[in-house]
Amino acid sequence: MASTHVSSAASITGRRRTRSVLAPLALLLVLGAAWEAFARLRDIDPIILPAPSDVASSMWTDRSLLLEGLGRTTSIVLGGILIAAILGIALGAALHRSPTARRAVEPLLVGSQAVPIPVLAPLLVIWLGFGLTPQLVLVVIVAFFPVAVATRDALAGLSPETDLVLRNLGATGSQRLRLVELRGALPGIVTGLRLAVVFAVIGAVFADSTGSSATTAADPTSSGGLGRIVQDAIPQLATDRAFAAIALLAALALLLFWSLGAAERRLDPSPHSPLRTP
């Protein structure tokens, strides 16, 4: 009995993973087919609601524009996430270390998240000028909060007995951080990052549609990200292109979310995973 259990462990995981990819894909296909049927049968104007086939054809026709936009938005998201991760982890660790700081800083932090992004975005441009800076700042603002909270909670969740051992050994704060806390809090931090990437994509869309690059005599071409593409497409009644850009944004967010989920699983296989020895 024991040997069958061990040898099928890998196939159980494999099967589970395939299921978790096939199921949403299947659902997507069903919904897409229904949408297409609805749009065609009711003869809906593609300017109002493009059918999936319209969106797909725009993805092909406008592929170079969309790819360029995707590239720009992705780089803002990744750049912003990187900074947000560093800031968020540092802040979370600081809040964990000092309960007084936490009581003072936390309400301000929560308040900062309540400012609506569409209001914040133009304000940042007024304060910081045009270009990449206000875009990155916007993404960092929306993304660092979940990371900070997740870090703080993860650190707080570490076993108090380990804490006793560390105190007994006379470990310094930095030793504690290096040897125990960072590695132990990592799964929780990654959970926070998963949320953060989704917020970052949303933030990047707003940031981007509000701050495209300029043209000069030396550089007469400018480019924007996917948010800009959506904004441009609407008054030109190119709703299919707008949807195509939105679909790409959704795909970006999903990809980042899933890959972090995979990282999270690698860091900390769940106790119920068949890889665990009984």
Binding site: E161, L169, L179
Partner: protein, 271 residues
């Protein structure tokens, strides 16, 4: 509170070591001396009037009800809490907390090596030493396994390895075998006996398991309030000497002597 006099001393049990009555066998230097120490929190002492001396080579067991301050006592002896009265004079102690304190995401090796890493020993060397200690405790094959995947008994051994790797002579063990099933427990008893004896450690072992106390320790002390707790009044616990063992360290004490001792201890606790 005294042992019954009409019971004859028990015959030597099978696995017994040569006994020594009278003057104790060779004990090393004093590792810990507590004099009239008290500790607590929130302005209230949980324990008071603690007098205790532990020398290298001996194991002292402390038994008591849950909640009477055993953990506070260990923290006091470890220097994690300052005494509110009296004094503690002790070498640095290695504390093994009640729920092993292991990092579940890390390997047995990482966990065991923690004291070495804190002491500044580079990782490779620390791991090598940890592997050695784990092997001595029968875990050589599992050194690279994550603790989360280990059984309760194996985890206790990892925790013990970590405790021994501190290099400290004074060991403070808080209910080390509480979370382990009965069968594994007796295996671990053997292990503990072997290592405590050979290492020349002085150990304070807190336990609620009387058999364990009797089996592992040279002396048993009881931690309880000195008098009955009147309603609504708080009386801190103190150490009371347990009855003198009539058996020998390591005896299974299956015979009447052991029963008498056990009975006596139970009477102590109930008092």
């Amino acid at each position: 509170m005294s042992v019954r006099d009409d019971i004859p001393p028990p015959p030597a049990a099978k696995n017994a070591r040569p006994s020594t009555d009278g003057p104790a066998r060779d004990l090393g230097p004093t590792l810990l001396r507590a004099t009239g120490a008290a500790a607590g929190f929130g302005g209230r002492d949980v324990i008071a009037g603690i007098d205790l001396e532990v020398r290298a080579g001996e194991t002292v067991a402390i038994v008591g009800r849950s909640g009477c301050g055993k953990t506070t006592l260990l923290h006091l002896l470890a220097g994690l809490t300052l005494p509110s009265a009296g004094s503690i004079d002790a070498e640095p102690a290695a504390l093994m907390p009640q729920r092993d304190g292991l990092m579940p995401w890390a390997t047995a090796r990482d966990n065991a090596a923690l004291p070495l890493r804190v002491a500044g020993i580079p990782r490779r060397e620390a791991h090598r030493l940890a592997d050695g200690q784990l092997a001595a405790l029968g875990l050589g094959h599992a050194a690279g396994r994550r603790v989360a995947a280990l059984s309760g008994g194996m985890r206790q051994r990892v925790a013990l390895a970590r405790t021994l790797l501190t290099g400290r002579k004074l060991l403070l063990l808080d209910e080390p075998l509480a979370a382990v099933d009965a069968l594994t427990r007796s295996e671990l008893h053997e292990l503990l006996l072997r290592h405590l004896a050979t290492g020349g450690h002085g150990a304070v072992l807190v336990t609620h398991d009387l058999d364990e106390a009797v089996r592992l320790a040279d002396r048993v002390l009881v931690l309880r309030p000195t008098r009955e707790l009147p309603a609504n009044q708080h009386v801190p616990s103190t150490l009371h000497p347990g009855p003198t063992l009539t058996g020998k360290v390591g005896d299974r004490l299956e015979h009447r002597g052991g029963d008498v001792l056990r009975l006596a201890l139970l009477t102590e606790l109930a008092a």
